[in-house]
Amino acid sequence: MSDYETFLLDGRPVRFERGQTILEAALAAGHYIPNLCHHPEFKPHGSCKLCTIKVNGRYGSACTVKAMPGQEVSSDTPELNGNRRVLLQMLFVEGSHFCPGCEKSGNCALQALAYDLEMLTPHYAHFYPSRPLDASHPDVLIDFNRCIMCELCVRASREVDGKNVFALAGRGVASHVVVNSPSGKLADTDFALTDKAAHICPVGAILPKRVGFAVPIGSRTYDVDAISTLAERRATEEA
């Protein structure tokens, strides 16, 4: 049996290695499937649901469903992209994602996906959360108003940094990220600027301090190319 087998993604054959998820295989082959909570260095999480696809007619998360030979996967369809826009709209109104004043603008995966999926308005009523910033740490700032609960910081701190600085608390609509210290403040943890968790946030929730707008407009990650184009190019370069 060959090491490489294929499934069909939007009618195109995609080669995969046994054990890869559909998302991993698609990204490696240069086919972008929208995603937010996925990170190649961490185990699949399946929480943001942006990568929801249809596999042989059934919904599934591309980041958790294993690729299998002969699967017929649809992703870039009006229905699935419409659902993704709804998910993005809900993320935007649940937090306070004021791109014009956010230093992550241009480098933010949430913003980039909203552009790429042509989200024109938030549509839903804003929650307007007012969550206090945690600026207690000398080198890192947390703006909880921008957290999308992808848990990348939770996973990075636990699995790479070995510190368990972050956790998810609450249930349902009350779910939120907390800092694991008696005071709840980041300053009272052993968190460091060099931690993986300090640099993994896909949005503007966890930010190294005093960087701000140092990167000029035009040189930011998503200034020139869409997030999907960038991912596809990266795959081509790595191939």
């Binding site: 014009p100 004043g101 956010c102 230093e103 206090p132 910033l133 600026a135 207690s136 700032l141 301090k209 005093r210 960087v211 701000g212 707008f213 140092a214 990167v215 000029p216 407009i217 035009g218």
Partner: protein, 492 residues
């Protein structure tokens, strides 16, 4: 201060409202109270919107502020960007900027002076001046100007575009860019970008000089009218460099009385609270600043083009300085005070800014790559001041040890002109409306006086938490069910 601010018996008078005031930035209205003989008893410029930036940037990290706070306005955001970053340079502990960084900020700022002055004169004011104050109202706009004076309208559009392009090359975007960061700039100017700006700059100087001459020739057609329209004595304030020349970007504060005598000079703007004081009134969302030493009654002043070209000892570029002297010669040794002189002064400034841009493009430093200052000790408090297109702009911040803003006070250009604008419309109301049957054309005279100041009403209304507020709850038939009031004085 005019007797027309508050009528003695307002309830017995009829009320005329100009709502909204048109061809200005933001939303405002004018109310006039008249008796049965159409005699004017009260005239007020009201600001009917608010922004609240002073409060809602509290708690935000200081490095975010120069970008956030410029969202106050889409007409001259660069002013807020630069005033804030000048304060944050100091908060962050940076020393003097490298020559390239300061010159790039100046280039951005001069681009904004050009674009803002162009949009105001050509798009907002020229319909009154070229078509007539009481011309057909449906044609009294930029489209009407484009039909009757297509070359002038084209020059206005392209002057504005030129200024916007200068901003884009220095800030990354035409509106709401990010170029200035605490300690310097985030982007150098490339040789290609310099050439793109330089290609057009001589044409812009020629057009802006032509615009100055056009306003001068309009004045010659009816000198008495232009001299006396909305004329009243007032103090004036602007920023000057060490040599007394107008400096849009940095310098000391200079204030002069109506007779041209000096009230204060070369005041370090970080001590602005020692020379200026703000007062709130119940009927406006905009505060009323005044010169502390002269008190609230007599201490109000003008800022903006007419004030600063006159308080300055000179302009540093040759063509603009010649035009400044020509305009000031009409005062016979005293400052000119007619409201319509604002337009003349504004275009002199646009010319000055175009000349300054040309000089900066010729300066080898402008292509440098040393963009950040050396860093020293953090500060907890700082003030940044700039001469925005509409006048002197103050940004004052305190930041705690966690880098979060704990206090912000903004005195924006239009706020400085609050009392002067009210005095101007009272003067015009007495000159043209008092005792006469009110017509649309006569009411437009009031708006002409306001427009001359180029007010940015949206920028000027940010005092969230202090402003008077009245909320009426009415049922479907319009009957009042409940009224909630806060910080309200006498009803108008």
């Amino acid at each position: 201060m005019s007797r027309l601010e508050t009528a003695e018996n307002p309830q017995k008078l009829k009320r005329i409202a100009i709502d909204p005031v048109t061809r200005v930035e933001g939303h405002g209205k004018v109310t006039l109270l008249l008796d049965d003989a159409d005699r004017i008893h009260q005239v007020r410029l009201h600001i009917v919107e608010f922004r609240g930036f002073e409060i809602f940037i509290e708690g935000r990290p200081y490095w975010e502020v120069p970008v956030t706070v410029q969202r106050l306005c889409g007409i001259c955001p660069v002013s807020h960007h630069l005033a804030a970053v000048k304060a944050m340079d100091l908060i962050a502990g940076y020393g003097p900027l490298p020559a390239t960084a300061e010159k790039l900020r100046r280039l951005m700022h001069y681009g904004q002076i050009v674009q803002s002055h162009a949009v105001h004169f050509f798009h907002l004011a020229s319909p009154d001046l070229l078509l007539g104050f009481d011309s057909e109202p449906t044609r009294r706009n930029i489209v009407g100007v484009a039909q009757d004076f297509p070359e002038i309208a084209k020059q206005g559009v392209l002057l504005r575009k030129f200024g916007q392009e200068v901003i884009r090359h220095t800030a990354g975007k035409r509106i709401h860019g990010t170029g200035a960061i605490p300690g310097g700039m985030n982007k150098a100017l490339t040789p290609a970008e310099r050439e793109e700006i330089r290609r057009d700059v001589d044409q812009m100087i020629e057009w802006s000089l032509g615009a100055v001459h056009m306003v001068a020739s309009l004045h010659r057609t009816k000198p008495e009218f232009y001299n006396r329209f909305g004329e009243f004595d007032s103090s004036m304030m602007g920023m000057v460099g060490d040599d007394g020349a107008l400096d849009f970007y940095h310098g000391g504060l200079r204030a002069q009385a109506a007779d041209g005598s000096t009230i204060f000079d070369h005041v370090d703007y970080s001590t602005y609270e020692e020379v200026l004081q703000e007062e709130a009134k119940s009927w406006s969302y905009m505060k009323f600043p005044h010169i502390r030493a002269l008190g609230a009654e007599k201490g109000w002043y003008k800022v903006g083009p007419l004030a600063r070209v006159q308080v300055a000892s000179r302009l540093s570029t040759p063509l603009a300085d010649i035009e400044r002297k020509k305009m000031m010669a009409l005062g016979n040794g005293k400052p000119v005070m007619g409201t319509l002189f604002y337009h003349w002064a504004r275009l002199i400034e646009a010319l000055h800014a175009c000349e300054l841009i040309r000089d900066l493009l010729d300066d080898p430093d402008i292509l440098g790559t040393d963009l950040m200052a050396d860093k020293g000790d953090r500060r907890g408090e700082a003030v940044g001041v700039i001469e925005a297109p509409r006048g002197t702009l103050f940004h004052h911040y305190r930041v705690d040890e966690n880098d979060q803003v704990t206090f912000c006070n903004l005195i924006v250009s239009t706020t400085n002109n609050n009392q002067a604008m009210n005095e101007a419309i009272r003067s015009v109301a007495l000159q043209y409306l008092d005792g006469r049957k009110v017509s649309e054309g006569l009411l437009n005279h009031i708006e002409v006086a306001i427009r001359a100041y180029d007010p940015c009403l949206s920028c000027a209304t940010h005092a969230l938490g202090q402003m008077p507020l009245e909320v009426d709850l009415v049922d479907a038939s319009g009957d009042l069910i409940h009224r909630a009031r806060r910080n309200m004085g006498a009803p108008t």
